[in-house]
């Protein structure tokens, strides 16, 4: 009989902190001297002269934002940091440090938390983000991850950042990459029996496990499914892209976390504008269209968690951005529509359908309590 894995409760808080610190060192993530305290530490850094600073916070709660039977501990650590880095990327800023507050039931396997820190630390190391402190608290029923990330404007940006409130009628509307892959991955998980615990880390293994649960999938579909699941479990924060938008002179961006329409509605509200989106121009991968012939438009516009950047810019700025994207090996922006004057009433967003007609797009971001 295999022995039960050691739990956090058995190891104790202070020994856990030492083990987590060792993992961060192992993956090359910089830490502040007292990187994880028990609630009374402050980490120190020196802001780069002439920059402006940004701060963002995001919480992930077990059963609400993730399911441990659908994701690996390592991917969870990656994603918890990635969604915060994506917010910093959407400001056109450079992430500098992260604090991590772990709310633990005590029943978590120590090996799982070490894997979580491997995922988080590897992403932090890749972007030079210091894991600068944190807190460990007891949360008897449910694991929670509460991260805060501080960033600053890029040193060569003269303090410029991207916000949501400066979109102007006549601007073009663009995204940094494909839409709908993450939602397709989630849909796969929801619709299939792929609820079995992921035992391997590699993308290929994910694809295989999905494929074995869905034996009717062709080889192409299996590869696509793996791609969807990677997009869902290991989103890439578009930090270099945000920097390029600022460098090109862009002023407005956000990340697509709640779905294109939900997020675009926020730009419209904050800028006092309307928008028109061209269905035919949406960069939805063929694999998403093929896997979800009836649902791909919903997945691409309302599915969320793509973590691509949604931004507006005039034509000259977009020209400069295209040149920067070539020089920096980034994908060219996909123009998906335009900013318009605000409508007199009703939804600020219209969708230009592929069949030529136009329709108003209903709002509705996700309400955690379903109220209203």
């Amino acid at each position: 009989m295999p022995s039960a894995p050691q739990t956090v409760a058995a190891l104790g808080e202070f020994a856990l902190i030492d083990r987590l610190a060792a993992v961060l060192a192992e993956v090359g993530a910089a830490t502040a001297p007292e990187f994880l305290g028990i609630g009374d530490d402050a980490a120190i850094w020196t802001p780069t002269p002439g920059t402006r600073a940004v701060i963002t916070t995001d919480s992930l709660i077990a059963g609400i934002h993730f399911r441990l039977d659908w994701t690996s501990w390592r991917d969870l650590g990656h994603k918890a940091l990635a969604v915060n880095l994506s917010d910093v990327a959407a400001m056109g800023a450079r992430p500098r440090l992260a604090t991590v507050s772990l709310a633990l039931t005590g029943a978590e396997p120590v090996a799982g938390l070490l894997e979580l820190y491997r995922g988080l630390g590897t992403l932090a190391a890749a972007h030079g983000v210091v894991v600068a402190g944190g807190d460990i608290v007891a949360s008897p029923e449910r694991l929670g991850l509460h991260l805060t990330v501080v960033g600053e404007s890029w040193p060569d940006a003269d303090g410029a950042l991207l916000t949501r409130d400066r979109a102007r009628p006549g601007d073009l509307l663009a995204v940094s990459g494909p839409l709908g892959r993450s939602a397709a991955g989630l849909e796969m998980l929801l619709k299939s029996a792929v609820g079995s615990r992921r035992s391997a880390e590699s993308d290929r293994a994910i694809g295989r496990s999905v494929a074995s649960a869905l034996p009717d999938l062709s080889a192409d579909r299996r590869l696509a499914t793996a791609d969807f699941l990677v997009a869902h479990h290991r989103p890439t924060p578009r930090i270099a892209y945000g920097r390029a938008i600022v460098a090109a002179g862009g002023r407005v961006a956000m990340d697509v976390s709640d779905g294109l329409f939900g997020d675009l509605a926020k730009i419209c509200a904050r800028s006092g504008v309307g928008a028109i989106v061209d269905e035919a121009a949406l960069p939805v991968p063929d694999a998403v269209r093929a896997a979800f012939p009836e649902e791909w438009l919903r997945l691409a516009t309302r599915g969320g968690e793509d973590y691509e950047l949604l931004f507006t810019a005039d034509a000259a700025t977009l020209d400069r951005l295209r040149a920067l994207c070539v020089a920096r090996d980034l994908p060219a922006p996909a123009i998906i529509g335009a900013i318009t004057a605000p409508p007199a009433a009703g939804s600020p967003i219209r969708l230009h359908r592929a069949d030529g007609h136009e329709e108003a797009v209903g709002g509705g971001a996700f309400d955690h309590f379903g109220g209203g």
Copy 2:
């Protein structure tokens, strides 16, 4: 029959955000334009040139760190911010902004959360702290408050901050104010039947409710009890004191959150020193000694949550600090012992008892999981 109070679930997330923002405006707390988002906002600030920055995070979980039948919503909001500001004070820094992540069951009364924001916002306004963003997430079983505060060195401090690693043998050991009041308040709550929900906000009302539960208390004791409960429920972050320590040339401080001995052990460990504490010099109020004749020393040295500053300094620095305390209307530092060479083995802390003998002090900070 009184109607049931409106819950967060009934009101909905977005209406709640609007109501919370209105409360912050009402109490004069500055907010960033998008002060509370749904997880994808970053707030912007401009670091003061020439300063260094600090960041700290602290979580409060219902049933672990607070009990809603023992504290009012308003005091809870005050305390959640105060414990974070205390960390910033202990760095000798000026707090600039706070992010608030609310993990809500949905069953919380809206009126309670508005009170929480009144308490939090009033303290933020008093110190010019911007409530700069946050996150609201569902936490089905248990309310959690996850705050992060950013501060920076005082503009006239030339980047100087207080840390734990620079205590030197020969330094004196001091605290900014009385010890044991908060622990005495908690002890009152634990030992008495004062578990009834606090219905009034004022300190006097707290004293009355305790007094009515403990009718044998004299008038003096009632006043003292109210004082203990205020210390426990509404701690004061010693921000001006931390600034004065830096201005006097001090280099080492922390706040007393886990108890004098537990926190002093951290300074000893980080600085590689020992310490001797003089029982007769401990600033324990007469009321604490009178109310707990057998336990006052334990409450004052291991009770925690005093949120006074514990610091080390040489005699010349302390002289400058005393002068600053007079000029700035702050209490004079209480010298409670000295830093020594590290012992060859065993506990770094010795206690010089009132009867003249010396004893080694065992360690042991609070472990959230009781492991080890």
